[in-house]
């Protein structure tokens, strides 16, 4: 399982990106994107922004916090898009910043195996995976709030903080 995580600002501008692999079931935390598709990740995520917004608005007014299944003032939109073997989950903060996670199972899952396995990664749309990604998003959200409270951070600016990066990596190791 390989992950590509990105934070997109209110102007659809990238604020942060981070690539990692699963640490569950003996994973070494390294991503396994092949060289041919790695550069596509950004495009795939970017193209899913439209869908993210569609889902976001179809749930009713923005700011109706809990409708998307998230908590506090963010909304977890679960898996919103799929591009071949790439699944995209989304979380929208109260300030309309989008957390996007592209997850790519190592081997394409057939319908038969997806039913049998609940391991995170093996089945990108299973409830267990959804829950794990939600936990990941929530932890990143907490740290995100702290990062943007830094007085030297300007709104909608790229987040360069190494501390935030380390915390995202830790959240990834912990839940994914």
């Amino acid at each position: 399982m390989s992950y590509y995580f990105a934070i997109v600002g209110t102007q659809d501008n990238p604020l942060f990106e981070y690539e990692f692999g699963t640490s569950k079931q003996g994973g070494d935390g390294q991503s396994r994107f092949t060289e041919q598709v790695r550069h596509l990740n950004q495009f795939i995520l970017h193209s899913s922004l439209d869908i993210a917004e569609e889902v976001q608005w179809s749930h009713g007014q923005i700011g109706r916090g809990l409708t998307g299944g998230g908590s506090r003032n963010g909304r977890y939109l679960k898996c919103i898009d799929k591009f071949f073997n790439n699944y995209i989950s989304c979380f929208v903060t109260g300030g309309n910043v989008k957390f996007l996670l592209l997850h790519q199972p190592t081997t394409p899952t057939s319908t038969a195996s997806s039913r049998s396995s609940t391991a995170i990664g093996a089945n990108p749309t299973s409830p267990a995976t959804e829950e794990a990604i939600k936990m990941f998003f929530m932890e990143v959200y907490d740290n995100w709030v702290k990062a943007i409270m830094n007085p030297f951070y300007k709104a909608n600016m790229e987040v360069r903080s190494p501390i935030f990066r380390a915390r995202v990596a830790a959240a990834g190791r912990k839940y994914l």
Binding site: K146, A147, M149, N150, P151, F152, R160, S161, I163
Partner: protein, 192 residues
Amino acid sequence: MAASKASRIGEEIWKTRIDKVNAELVTLTYGTIVAQLCKDFEDDYPEVNRQLDKMGYNIGLRLIEDYLAKSNTMKRCSNFRETADMISRVGFKIFLNITPQVTNWTADNNSFSLVFDENPFADFVELPDDGRAQNELWYSNILCGVLRGALEMVQMQVEAHFISDVLRGNDTTEMRVTLIRYIDDELPPEDD
């Protein structure tokens, strides 16, 4: 006055006479001031340090009356060691709810360090990664000015500066305070 008594006084005032305010409001307000100064002075960090010190000095000149009124201090500290204890256990306690450690006294008892285990100003803060802020900016420098201003009003001329800061990657946040002299009441020269 014993240090433990000072602690008790600080605790008592903090509990009964202080209006509390959300800590994050303080953190964000102070952070905004520092960030704005950095912007205004185009990241001339030594100048930002000076400005913060100056602002603190002006605060100290006023804050001392509040400290004296709240702590009901009727007599002055009998020596500089007592002053240090009162600064930490009453002053910092009632205004910021922290009690920095008083340590590293020099042999002549004229200079000590305040070691801040926690610093409410610095929550969430990461210094700009421009390669200079880490070496030049003393983020909490306003505190030096506050001490300088407040002590000057009670006839003590001191020098205060930070020598380390966890924000810079140091292990501790430490401020050095040195007594230069007691400003004794100078009577006008006698007319004969």
